[in-house]
Protein backbone atom coordinates (compact mmCIF):
# COMPACT_ATOMS: atom_id res chain seq x y z
CA UNK A 1 0.00 0.00 0.00
CA UNK A 2 1.24 3.42 -0.94
CA UNK A 3 0.80 6.40 1.36
CA UNK A 4 1.11 9.99 0.34
CA UNK A 5 2.32 12.30 3.03
CA UNK A 6 2.90 15.86 3.88
CA UNK A 7 6.36 16.01 2.49
CA UNK A 8 7.37 17.95 5.49
CA UNK A 9 8.74 14.71 6.55
CA UNK A 10 11.01 14.46 3.57
CA UNK A 11 13.58 16.92 4.75
CA UNK A 12 13.30 15.84 8.32
CA UNK A 13 13.91 12.22 7.53
CA UNK A 14 16.83 13.18 5.38
CA UNK A 15 18.21 15.21 8.20
CA UNK A 16 17.87 12.29 10.54
CA UNK A 17 19.64 10.08 8.05
CA UNK A 18 22.52 12.54 8.17
CA UNK A 19 23.02 12.49 4.43
CA UNK A 20 25.83 14.72 3.24
CA UNK A 21 24.33 18.20 3.31
CA UNK A 22 25.56 21.15 1.28
CA UNK A 23 27.16 24.12 2.82
CA UNK A 24 24.95 27.05 2.04
CA UNK A 25 26.27 30.51 1.48
CA UNK A 26 29.72 29.10 1.75
CA UNK A 27 29.25 26.83 -1.22
CA UNK A 28 31.43 29.10 -3.32
CA UNK A 29 34.26 28.80 -0.94
CA UNK A 30 33.88 25.11 -0.73
CA UNK A 31 33.56 24.22 -4.35
CA UNK A 32 35.65 26.87 -6.02
CA UNK A 33 38.08 28.72 -3.85
CA UNK A 34 39.40 25.88 -1.81
CA UNK A 35 38.10 22.46 -2.65
CA UNK A 36 40.77 20.71 -0.65
CA UNK A 37 39.91 22.77 2.45
CA UNK A 38 36.28 21.86 1.99
CA UNK A 39 37.23 18.27 2.32
CA UNK A 40 38.44 19.21 5.75
CA UNK A 41 35.02 20.50 6.88
CA UNK A 42 31.56 19.48 5.87
CA UNK A 43 28.62 20.85 7.84
CA UNK A 44 26.14 18.14 8.73
CA UNK A 45 22.46 18.10 9.54
CA UNK A 46 23.09 17.59 13.21
CA UNK A 47 24.74 21.01 13.36
CA UNK A 48 21.27 22.54 12.97
CA UNK A 49 19.26 23.39 16.08
CA UNK A 50 15.49 23.38 15.88
CA UNK A 51 15.54 26.16 18.45
CA UNK A 52 17.60 28.31 16.09
CA UNK A 53 15.41 27.42 13.14
CA UNK A 54 12.24 28.31 15.04
CA UNK A 55 13.87 31.58 16.08
CA UNK A 56 14.92 32.54 12.56
CA UNK A 57 11.52 31.75 11.07
CA UNK A 58 9.70 33.77 13.68
CA UNK A 59 12.24 36.55 13.27
CA UNK A 60 11.50 36.69 9.55
CA UNK A 61 7.81 36.90 10.38
CA UNK A 62 8.50 39.71 12.85
CA UNK A 63 10.35 41.73 10.23
CA UNK A 64 7.41 41.31 7.88
CA UNK A 65 5.09 42.50 10.67
CA UNK A 66 7.39 45.48 11.09
CA UNK A 67 6.96 46.36 7.43
CA UNK A 68 3.30 45.54 6.88
CA UNK A 69 1.34 46.67 8.65
CA UNK A 70 4.00 48.35 10.89
CA UNK A 71 5.89 50.73 8.65
CA UNK A 72 2.90 51.15 6.35
CA UNK A 73 0.79 52.46 9.23
CA UNK A 74 3.57 54.54 10.73
CA UNK A 75 3.98 56.34 7.44
CA UNK A 76 0.33 56.20 6.43
CA UNK A 77 -0.90 57.72 9.65
CA UNK A 78 1.35 60.72 9.10
CA UNK A 79 0.07 61.71 5.66
CA UNK A 80 -3.20 63.37 4.80
CA UNK A 81 -6.23 61.10 4.41
CA UNK A 82 -6.29 61.60 0.65
CA UNK A 83 -2.85 60.03 0.29
CA UNK A 84 -3.25 57.22 2.79
CA UNK A 85 -3.78 54.44 0.30
CA UNK A 86 -0.93 55.60 -1.88
CA UNK A 87 1.49 55.09 1.00
CA UNK A 88 -0.02 51.75 1.94
CA UNK A 89 0.05 50.56 -1.64
CA UNK A 90 3.64 51.65 -2.09
CA UNK A 91 4.88 49.82 0.99
CA UNK A 92 2.82 46.74 0.22
CA UNK A 93 3.86 46.55 -3.41
CA UNK A 94 7.51 47.09 -2.60
CA UNK A 95 7.37 44.14 -0.23
CA UNK A 96 5.91 41.93 -2.91
CA UNK A 97 8.18 43.04 -5.73
CA UNK A 98 11.35 42.71 -3.71
CA UNK A 99 10.37 39.27 -2.42
CA UNK A 100 10.24 38.08 -6.02
CA UNK A 101 13.49 39.76 -6.96
CA UNK A 102 15.17 38.33 -3.89
CA UNK A 103 14.62 34.70 -4.81
CA UNK A 104 15.22 35.42 -8.49
CA UNK A 105 18.65 37.02 -8.22
CA UNK A 106 18.88 39.21 -5.16
CA UNK A 107 19.95 36.56 -2.69
CA UNK A 108 22.55 35.29 -5.11
CA UNK A 109 24.01 38.74 -5.74
CA UNK A 110 24.16 39.52 -2.05
CA UNK A 111 25.13 36.20 -0.51
CA UNK A 112 27.40 34.33 -2.84
CA UNK A 113 31.11 34.97 -3.22
CA UNK A 114 32.44 36.69 -6.29
CA UNK A 115 34.20 39.84 -5.21
CA UNK A 116 34.31 42.53 -2.56
CA UNK A 117 31.46 44.54 -4.08
CA UNK A 118 28.94 42.05 -5.35
CA UNK A 119 28.28 38.32 -5.46
CA UNK A 120 27.56 36.15 -8.45
CA UNK A 121 24.54 34.51 -10.04
CA UNK A 122 25.29 30.96 -9.04
CA UNK A 123 22.23 30.83 -6.84
CA UNK A 124 19.94 32.79 -9.14
CA UNK A 125 16.44 31.30 -8.98
CA UNK A 126 17.71 29.62 -5.79
CA UNK A 127 19.52 27.07 -7.92
CA UNK A 128 21.18 24.42 -5.81
CA UNK A 129 19.27 25.41 -2.69
CA UNK A 130 16.86 22.93 -1.20
CA UNK A 131 15.41 21.97 2.16
CA UNK A 132 18.61 20.22 3.16
CA UNK A 133 21.20 22.87 2.26
CA UNK A 134 22.65 24.83 5.11
CA UNK A 135 23.77 28.37 5.84
CA UNK A 136 26.52 29.33 8.24
CA UNK A 137 25.93 31.26 11.45
CA UNK A 138 28.52 33.20 13.47
CA UNK A 139 29.51 30.14 15.47
CA UNK A 140 31.77 27.34 14.37
CA UNK A 141 29.81 24.19 13.78
CA UNK A 142 26.37 25.80 14.00
CA UNK A 143 24.24 25.96 10.85
CA UNK A 144 20.76 26.94 9.73
CA UNK A 145 18.53 25.56 6.99
CA UNK A 146 19.51 27.79 4.08
CA UNK A 147 15.85 28.52 3.32
CA UNK A 148 15.50 29.99 6.81
CA UNK A 149 18.44 32.29 6.22
CA UNK A 150 17.10 33.28 2.79
CA UNK A 151 13.68 34.07 4.22
CA UNK A 152 15.13 36.13 7.03
CA UNK A 153 17.39 38.15 4.76
CA UNK A 154 14.55 38.56 2.28
CA UNK A 155 12.63 40.57 4.81
CA UNK A 156 15.53 43.00 5.14
CA UNK A 157 15.59 43.52 1.40
CA UNK A 158 11.83 44.14 1.53
CA UNK A 159 11.79 46.75 4.26
CA UNK A 160 14.78 48.82 3.16
CA UNK A 161 13.31 50.34 -0.02
CA UNK A 162 9.98 50.65 1.75
CA UNK A 163 11.66 52.97 4.26
CA UNK A 164 12.60 55.34 1.45
CA UNK A 165 9.07 56.24 0.38
CA UNK A 166 8.44 58.30 3.48
CA UNK A 167 10.82 60.96 2.26
CA UNK A 168 8.70 61.89 -0.75
CA UNK A 169 5.32 60.68 0.40
CA UNK A 170 2.27 62.41 -1.09
CA UNK A 171 4.02 63.33 -4.35
CA UNK A 172 5.39 60.43 -6.32
CA UNK A 173 4.05 58.52 -9.28
CA UNK A 174 3.34 54.93 -8.33
CA UNK A 175 4.64 53.20 -11.44
CA UNK A 176 7.81 55.28 -11.48
CA UNK A 177 8.42 54.44 -7.85
CA UNK A 178 8.17 50.72 -8.45
CA UNK A 179 10.58 50.94 -11.38
CA UNK A 180 12.93 52.89 -9.15
CA UNK A 181 12.75 50.29 -6.41
CA UNK A 182 13.53 47.43 -8.77
CA UNK A 183 16.58 49.29 -10.04
CA UNK A 184 17.61 50.50 -6.61
CA UNK A 185 17.70 47.17 -4.85
CA UNK A 186 19.73 45.81 -7.74
CA UNK A 187 22.24 48.59 -8.02
CA UNK A 188 22.39 49.87 -4.45
CA UNK A 189 20.98 47.44 -1.90
CA UNK A 190 22.37 44.09 -3.00
CA UNK A 191 25.92 45.41 -3.39
CA UNK A 192 25.90 47.13 0.00
CA UNK A 193 24.40 44.05 1.66
CA UNK A 194 27.16 42.00 0.05
CA UNK A 195 29.86 44.41 1.16
CA UNK A 196 28.70 44.45 4.76
CA UNK A 197 27.34 40.97 5.39
CA UNK A 198 28.83 38.46 3.00
CA UNK A 199 31.59 36.20 4.28
CA UNK A 200 32.54 32.58 3.96
CA UNK A 201 31.43 31.61 7.45
CA UNK A 202 33.47 30.66 10.51
CA UNK A 203 34.36 27.17 9.41
CA UNK A 204 35.45 28.19 5.92
CA UNK A 205 37.06 31.58 6.34
CA UNK A 206 40.38 30.27 7.66
CA UNK A 207 40.87 28.47 4.33
CA UNK A 208 39.70 31.45 2.24
CA UNK A 209 40.43 34.55 4.22
CA UNK A 210 39.53 36.96 1.44
CA UNK A 211 36.13 35.43 0.75
CA UNK A 212 34.12 38.28 2.26
CA UNK A 213 32.48 41.57 1.28
CA UNK A 214 34.47 44.79 1.27
CA UNK A 215 33.25 46.30 4.53
CA UNK A 216 33.09 43.01 6.35
CA UNK A 217 36.69 42.39 5.46
CA UNK A 218 37.54 45.89 6.64
CA UNK A 219 36.27 44.91 10.06
CA UNK A 220 33.20 47.16 10.13
CA UNK A 221 30.70 46.17 12.82
CA UNK A 222 27.04 46.30 11.84
CA UNK A 223 24.94 43.90 13.87
CA UNK A 224 21.61 44.26 12.14
CA UNK A 225 21.95 46.74 9.33
CA UNK A 226 22.69 50.31 10.38
CA UNK A 227 24.56 50.95 7.16
CA UNK A 228 22.82 48.52 4.83
CA UNK A 229 19.32 49.45 5.86
CA UNK A 230 19.06 52.79 7.60
CA UNK A 231 21.88 54.98 6.33
CA UNK A 232 21.27 53.57 2.90
CA UNK A 233 17.52 54.15 2.84
CA UNK A 234 17.73 57.44 4.72
CA UNK A 235 20.08 58.94 2.16
CA UNK A 236 18.18 57.55 -0.81
CA UNK A 237 15.13 59.20 0.71
CA UNK A 238 16.74 62.61 0.98
CA UNK A 239 18.08 62.45 -2.55
CA UNK A 240 14.63 61.53 -3.79
CA UNK A 241 12.96 64.32 -1.83
CA UNK A 242 15.37 66.83 -3.33
CA UNK A 243 15.03 65.60 -6.89
CA UNK A 244 11.25 65.29 -6.78
CA UNK A 245 10.84 68.65 -5.05
CA UNK A 246 8.53 69.83 -2.33
CA UNK A 247 4.89 68.95 -1.94
CA UNK A 248 2.56 71.49 -3.49
CA UNK A 249 1.66 73.91 -0.72
CA UNK A 250 4.60 72.97 1.50
CA UNK A 251 5.28 74.47 3.96
CA UNK A 252 2.49 77.05 3.71
CA UNK A 253 -0.54 74.80 3.94
CA UNK A 254 -1.04 72.76 7.09
CA UNK A 255 -0.42 69.06 6.54
CA UNK A 256 -1.17 67.47 9.88
CA UNK A 257 -1.09 63.68 10.23
CA UNK A 258 -4.49 62.28 9.33
CA UNK A 259 -4.29 59.66 12.08
CA UNK A 260 -1.72 59.81 14.82
CA UNK A 261 -3.53 56.79 16.20
CA UNK A 262 -2.45 54.70 13.24
CA UNK A 263 1.02 56.20 13.31
CA UNK A 264 1.31 55.06 16.91
CA UNK A 265 0.11 51.58 16.01
CA UNK A 266 2.70 51.52 13.27
CA UNK A 267 5.46 52.66 15.60
CA UNK A 268 4.49 50.06 18.17
CA UNK A 269 4.57 47.32 15.54
CA UNK A 270 7.92 48.61 14.34
CA UNK A 271 9.21 48.18 17.86
CA UNK A 272 7.65 44.73 18.20
CA UNK A 273 8.96 43.56 14.86
CA UNK A 274 12.39 45.09 15.38
CA UNK A 275 13.21 42.29 17.83
CA UNK A 276 13.17 39.94 14.88
CA UNK A 277 15.31 42.40 13.00
CA UNK A 278 17.92 42.95 15.71
CA UNK A 279 17.90 39.79 17.80
CA UNK A 280 17.21 37.65 14.74
CA UNK A 281 20.38 39.02 13.17
CA UNK A 282 22.27 36.94 15.70
CA UNK A 283 21.14 33.87 13.72
CA UNK A 284 21.02 31.85 16.94
CA UNK A 285 18.70 31.83 19.94
CA UNK A 286 21.29 32.31 22.66
CA UNK A 287 22.59 34.82 25.20
CA UNK A 288 23.64 37.31 22.54
CA UNK A 289 20.19 37.23 21.00
CA UNK A 290 18.90 37.95 24.50
CA UNK A 291 21.36 40.82 24.81
CA UNK A 292 20.19 42.24 21.49
CA UNK A 293 16.64 41.92 22.81
CA UNK A 294 17.39 43.87 25.97
CA UNK A 295 19.21 46.53 24.00
CA UNK A 296 16.30 46.83 21.60
CA UNK A 297 14.09 47.49 24.59
CA UNK A 298 16.20 50.00 26.43
CA UNK A 299 17.78 52.03 23.63
CA UNK A 300 14.30 52.57 22.23
CA UNK A 301 12.90 53.47 25.61
CA UNK A 302 15.74 55.91 26.24
CA UNK A 303 15.29 57.64 22.91
CA UNK A 304 11.53 57.91 23.40
CA UNK A 305 11.98 59.39 26.85
CA UNK A 306 14.77 61.60 25.57
CA UNK A 307 12.60 63.10 22.87
CA UNK A 308 9.68 63.60 25.27
CA UNK A 309 11.94 65.35 27.75
CA UNK A 310 13.30 67.67 25.09
CA UNK A 311 9.76 68.57 24.08
CA UNK A 312 8.74 69.03 27.69
CA UNK A 313 11.57 71.48 28.13
CA UNK A 314 11.34 73.16 24.73
CA UNK A 315 7.59 73.67 24.46
CA UNK A 316 6.00 72.30 27.59
CA UNK A 317 3.95 69.66 25.80
CA UNK A 318 5.47 66.24 25.30
CA UNK A 319 3.73 64.76 22.28
CA UNK A 320 2.86 61.28 21.13
CA UNK A 321 4.44 61.96 17.76
CA UNK A 322 7.56 63.04 19.59
CA UNK A 323 7.63 59.90 21.69
CA UNK A 324 7.21 57.53 18.78
CA UNK A 325 9.67 59.43 16.62
CA UNK A 326 12.19 59.17 19.40
CA UNK A 327 11.49 55.46 19.71
CA UNK A 328 12.14 54.91 16.03
CA UNK A 329 15.33 56.96 16.25
CA UNK A 330 16.44 54.76 19.14
CA UNK A 331 15.60 51.61 17.21
CA UNK A 332 17.60 52.84 14.25
CA UNK A 333 20.59 53.80 16.37
CA UNK A 334 20.69 50.52 18.27
CA UNK A 335 20.43 48.44 15.13
CA UNK A 336 24.16 48.22 14.38
CA UNK A 337 24.99 48.00 18.09
CA UNK A 338 22.32 45.58 19.24
CA UNK A 339 24.54 42.56 19.93
CA UNK A 340 27.70 44.55 20.71
CA UNK A 341 26.77 47.15 23.31
CA UNK A 342 26.00 46.54 26.96
CA UNK A 343 22.50 47.65 28.04
CA UNK A 344 23.80 50.77 29.80
CA UNK A 345 25.67 51.67 26.63
CA UNK A 346 22.54 51.16 24.60
CA UNK A 347 20.68 53.57 26.87
CA UNK A 348 23.30 56.25 26.29
CA UNK A 349 23.12 55.59 22.57
CA UNK A 350 19.35 56.01 22.65
CA UNK A 351 19.54 59.36 24.43
CA UNK A 352 22.18 60.66 22.02
CA UNK A 353 20.19 59.53 18.99
CA UNK A 354 17.08 61.28 20.29
CA UNK A 355 18.95 64.53 20.76
CA UNK A 356 20.70 64.55 17.42
CA UNK A 357 17.67 63.43 15.43
CA UNK A 358 15.51 66.02 17.20
CA UNK A 359 17.78 68.76 15.97
CA UNK A 360 17.71 67.48 12.42
CA UNK A 361 13.97 66.93 12.29
CA UNK A 362 12.94 70.22 13.85
CA UNK A 363 15.73 72.70 13.14
CA UNK A 364 17.92 71.54 10.28
CA UNK A 365 15.04 70.57 8.02
CA UNK A 366 13.28 73.90 8.30
CA UNK A 367 16.60 75.73 8.12
CA UNK A 368 17.47 74.16 4.78
CA UNK A 369 13.91 73.94 3.61
CA UNK A 370 13.93 70.48 2.04
CA UNK A 371 10.67 68.57 2.22
CA UNK A 372 11.55 65.19 3.72
CA UNK A 373 7.84 64.46 4.25
CA UNK A 374 8.12 61.90 7.03
CA UNK A 375 11.70 62.56 8.18
CA UNK A 376 13.34 59.52 6.70
CA UNK A 377 16.62 61.37 6.48
CA UNK A 378 16.33 63.00 9.88
CA UNK A 379 15.58 59.74 11.65
CA UNK A 380 16.98 56.86 9.62
CA UNK A 381 20.05 58.43 8.13
CA UNK A 382 21.03 60.51 11.12
CA UNK A 383 20.06 57.84 13.64
CA UNK A 384 21.92 55.32 11.53
CA UNK A 385 25.10 57.37 11.53
CA UNK A 386 24.89 57.91 15.29
CA UNK A 387 24.44 54.18 15.74
CA UNK A 388 27.17 53.12 13.33
CA UNK A 389 29.77 55.31 14.95
CA UNK A 390 28.48 54.65 18.44
CA UNK A 391 28.89 50.93 17.82
CA UNK A 392 32.61 51.46 17.41
CA UNK A 393 32.67 52.93 20.90
CA UNK A 394 30.16 50.76 22.71
CA UNK A 395 31.44 47.42 21.41
CA UNK A 396 34.59 48.02 23.43
CA UNK A 397 34.83 45.36 26.13
CA UNK A 398 36.18 48.08 28.40
CA UNK A 399 32.67 49.57 28.29
CA UNK A 400 31.02 46.22 28.79
CA UNK A 401 30.73 45.62 25.05
CA UNK A 402 31.14 42.30 23.31
CA UNK A 403 34.29 43.17 21.34
CA UNK A 404 34.79 41.22 18.14
CA UNK A 405 35.86 37.77 17.01
CA UNK A 406 38.82 36.77 14.90
CA UNK A 407 37.47 34.24 12.45
CA UNK A 408 40.66 33.59 10.58
CA UNK A 409 41.21 30.66 12.86
CA UNK A 410 38.72 27.92 13.61
CA UNK A 411 37.34 27.88 16.20
CA UNK A 412 37.20 31.67 16.23
CA UNK A 413 38.91 33.57 19.05
CA UNK A 414 38.21 36.92 20.68
CA UNK A 415 40.16 39.72 18.95
CA UNK A 416 41.97 42.63 20.61
CA UNK A 417 39.71 45.71 20.57
CA UNK A 418 41.08 49.13 19.57
CA UNK A 419 38.36 51.73 20.04
CA UNK A 420 39.98 54.46 18.00
CA UNK A 421 40.70 52.14 15.12
CA UNK A 422 37.22 50.67 15.26
CA UNK A 423 35.57 54.08 15.17
CA UNK A 424 37.68 54.94 12.13
CA UNK A 425 36.61 51.71 10.47
CA UNK A 426 32.99 52.52 11.24
CA UNK A 427 33.36 55.97 9.71
CA UNK A 428 34.88 54.44 6.60
CA UNK A 429 31.96 52.05 6.33
CA UNK A 430 29.51 54.93 6.72
CA UNK A 431 31.37 56.96 4.09
CA UNK A 432 31.37 54.07 1.65
CA UNK A 433 27.65 53.58 2.13
CA UNK A 434 26.97 57.29 1.68
CA UNK A 435 28.97 57.39 -1.50
CA UNK A 436 27.46 54.29 -3.04
CA UNK A 437 23.90 55.02 -1.99
CA UNK A 438 24.06 58.73 -2.73
CA UNK A 439 25.48 58.43 -6.19
CA UNK A 440 23.57 55.31 -7.13
CA UNK A 441 20.24 56.69 -5.96
CA UNK A 442 20.72 60.06 -7.63
CA UNK A 443 21.53 58.49 -10.97
CA UNK A 444 18.49 56.25 -10.81
CA UNK A 445 16.09 59.02 -9.79
CA UNK A 446 17.32 61.30 -12.54
CA UNK A 447 17.15 58.59 -15.17
CA UNK A 448 13.60 57.71 -14.22
CA UNK A 449 12.54 61.32 -13.91
CA UNK A 450 13.76 62.07 -17.42
CA UNK A 451 12.00 59.04 -18.86
CA UNK A 452 8.83 58.03 -17.02
CA UNK A 453 8.68 61.09 -14.78
CA UNK A 454 8.67 60.80 -11.02
CA UNK A 455 5.99 63.30 -10.15
CA UNK A 456 2.24 63.27 -10.65
CA UNK A 457 0.42 66.38 -11.93
CA UNK A 458 -0.48 69.13 -9.47
CA UNK A 459 -4.16 68.30 -9.99
CA UNK A 460 -3.55 64.70 -9.02
CA UNK A 461 -1.62 65.86 -6.00
CA UNK A 462 -4.46 68.21 -4.98
CA UNK A 463 -7.04 65.52 -5.53
CA UNK A 464 -4.94 63.10 -3.54
CA UNK A 465 -2.99 60.18 -4.88
CA UNK A 466 -5.52 57.64 -3.60
CA UNK A 467 -8.13 58.59 -6.11
CA UNK A 468 -5.77 59.84 -8.77
CA UNK A 469 -3.38 56.88 -8.85
CA UNK A 470 -5.38 54.02 -7.44
CA UNK A 471 -9.02 54.94 -8.01
CA UNK A 472 -9.89 54.31 -4.39
CA UNK A 473 -10.75 56.23 -1.27
CA UNK A 474 -9.36 55.17 2.09
CA UNK A 475 -12.45 55.98 4.11
CA UNK A 476 -16.15 55.97 3.29
CA UNK A 477 -19.13 55.73 5.54
Amino acid sequence: MRHAIKLAAAGAATLLAALPAWAANVAEAVTEAAPEAAAAFTPTADMVSKGDTAWMLISAVLVLLMTIPGLALFYGGLVRAKNMLSVLTQVFTICAVVALIWVTYGYSLAFTGGGPFIGGLSKAFLMGVDATTLAATFTNGVYLPEYAFIAFQMTFAMITPALIVGAFAERVKFSALIVFVVAWVTVVYFPIAHMVWYWAGPDFLPAATDDAGLLWAMGALDFAGGTVVHINAGLAGLVGALIIGKRTGYPREPMPPHSLTLAMVGAALLWVGWFGFNAGSNLEANGIAALATINTFVATAAAAIGWLLIEQIAKGKPSLLGGITGAVAGLVAVTPAAGFAAPMGAIVLGFVAAGVCYVFVTAVKSRFGYDDSLDVFGVHFIGGVVGAIGTGVLADPALGGQGFFDYTVAPAVVGAFDMGGQVLTQIKAVATTILWSGVGSAVLYLAIDKTIGLRPSVEDEREGLDLASHGERAYSS
Binding site: P254, P256, P257, K315, K317, S319, T325, V361, T362, D375
Partner: protein, 112 residues
Amino acid sequence: MKLIIAVIKPFKLDEVRDALSEVGVQGMTVTEVKGFGRQKGQTEIYRGAEYTTNMVPKIRIETVVPDDLAARVVETVQASATTGSIGDGKIFTIDVGEAVRIRTGETGETAL
Protein backbone atom coordinates in the same frame (compact mmCIF):
# COMPACT_ATOMS: atom_id res chain seq x y z
CA MET B 1 -41.77 80.21 9.92
CA LYS B 2 -38.23 80.97 10.96
CA LEU B 3 -35.05 79.01 10.54
CA ILE B 4 -32.96 79.40 13.67
CA ILE B 5 -29.31 78.56 13.20
CA ALA B 6 -27.32 78.24 16.40
CA VAL B 7 -23.61 77.56 16.61
CA ILE B 8 -22.73 76.28 20.08
CA LYS B 9 -20.06 74.49 22.07
CA PRO B 10 -20.26 70.73 21.48
CA PHE B 11 -20.72 69.69 25.08
CA LYS B 12 -23.75 71.94 25.37
CA LEU B 13 -25.73 70.02 22.77
CA ASP B 14 -27.68 67.81 25.13
CA GLU B 15 -28.63 70.68 27.37
CA VAL B 16 -29.78 72.84 24.49
CA ARG B 17 -31.75 70.03 22.92
CA ASP B 18 -33.54 69.26 26.14
CA ALA B 19 -34.32 72.93 26.71
CA LEU B 20 -35.71 73.28 23.20
CA SER B 21 -37.88 70.20 23.56
CA GLU B 22 -39.36 71.73 26.64
CA VAL B 23 -40.41 74.91 24.85
CA GLY B 24 -42.09 72.83 22.16
CA VAL B 25 -39.51 72.44 19.39
CA GLN B 26 -40.25 69.13 17.72
CA GLY B 27 -37.32 68.69 15.46
CA MET B 28 -33.87 69.93 14.61
CA THR B 29 -30.91 69.04 12.50
CA VAL B 30 -27.40 69.03 13.86
CA THR B 31 -24.07 69.34 12.07
CA GLU B 32 -20.51 69.05 13.29
CA VAL B 33 -18.72 72.18 12.12
CA LYS B 34 -15.63 74.18 12.79
CA GLY B 35 -15.87 77.69 13.99
CA PHE B 36 -13.65 80.70 13.46
CA GLY B 37 -14.14 83.71 15.65
CA ARG B 38 -12.77 85.44 18.71
CA GLN B 39 -12.01 82.13 20.40
CA LYS B 40 -8.70 80.87 19.14
CA GLY B 41 -7.90 77.23 18.59
CA GLN B 42 -5.05 75.38 20.25
CA THR B 43 -1.68 75.38 18.59
CA GLU B 44 -0.75 71.99 17.22
CA ILE B 45 2.88 71.00 16.72
CA TYR B 46 3.94 67.99 14.73
CA ARG B 47 7.68 67.37 14.77
CA GLY B 48 8.34 71.07 14.82
CA ALA B 49 5.72 72.05 12.24
CA GLU B 50 3.40 74.41 14.06
CA TYR B 51 -0.21 74.96 13.03
CA THR B 52 -2.56 77.40 14.67
CA THR B 53 -5.71 76.58 12.85
CA ASN B 54 -7.97 79.09 14.55
CA MET B 55 -10.67 76.54 13.97
CA VAL B 56 -12.60 75.32 16.97
CA PRO B 57 -15.01 72.36 16.85
CA LYS B 58 -18.60 73.55 17.20
CA ILE B 59 -22.06 72.17 16.81
CA ARG B 60 -24.46 73.85 14.42
CA ILE B 61 -28.13 73.38 15.18
CA GLU B 62 -30.80 74.33 12.71
CA THR B 63 -34.43 74.24 13.55
CA VAL B 64 -37.42 75.64 11.76
CA VAL B 65 -40.12 76.90 14.07
CA PRO B 66 -43.42 78.75 13.78
CA ASP B 67 -43.01 82.53 13.82
CA ASP B 68 -44.53 82.90 17.25
CA LEU B 69 -42.14 80.44 18.79
CA ALA B 70 -39.04 81.99 17.26
CA ALA B 71 -38.24 84.51 19.97
CA ARG B 72 -38.75 81.95 22.66
CA VAL B 73 -36.44 79.54 20.89
CA VAL B 74 -33.70 82.11 20.52
CA GLU B 75 -33.93 82.96 24.18
CA THR B 76 -33.89 79.33 25.20
CA VAL B 77 -30.81 78.56 23.15
CA GLN B 78 -29.08 81.61 24.49
CA ALA B 79 -29.88 80.67 28.05
CA SER B 80 -28.98 77.00 27.82
CA ALA B 81 -25.86 77.30 25.66
CA THR B 82 -24.08 80.01 27.54
CA THR B 83 -21.07 79.36 29.72
CA GLY B 84 -20.02 82.96 29.84
CA SER B 85 -16.66 82.29 28.29
CA ILE B 86 -15.52 83.26 24.83
CA GLY B 87 -16.64 81.03 21.98
CA ASP B 88 -20.13 80.32 23.25
CA GLY B 89 -21.45 80.92 19.76
CA LYS B 90 -24.16 82.73 17.82
CA ILE B 91 -27.81 82.47 16.93
CA PHE B 92 -29.15 83.64 13.58
CA THR B 93 -32.76 83.93 12.47
CA ILE B 94 -33.84 83.60 8.84
CA ASP B 95 -37.24 83.64 7.15
CA VAL B 96 -38.49 80.40 5.75
CA GLY B 97 -40.93 80.44 2.85
CA GLU B 98 -42.31 76.96 2.97
CA ALA B 99 -41.89 73.70 4.84
CA VAL B 100 -42.90 70.21 3.75
CA ARG B 101 -42.97 66.94 5.66
CA ILE B 102 -41.68 64.38 3.19
CA ARG B 103 -43.52 61.42 4.64
CA THR B 104 -46.95 62.95 4.38
CA GLY B 105 -46.59 65.90 2.08
CA GLU B 106 -48.03 68.18 4.79
CA THR B 107 -46.90 71.78 4.41
CA GLY B 108 -46.57 74.88 6.55
CA GLU B 109 -46.37 74.84 10.31
CA THR B 110 -48.02 71.45 10.56
CA ALA B 111 -45.02 70.03 8.72
CA LEU B 112 -42.61 70.98 11.51
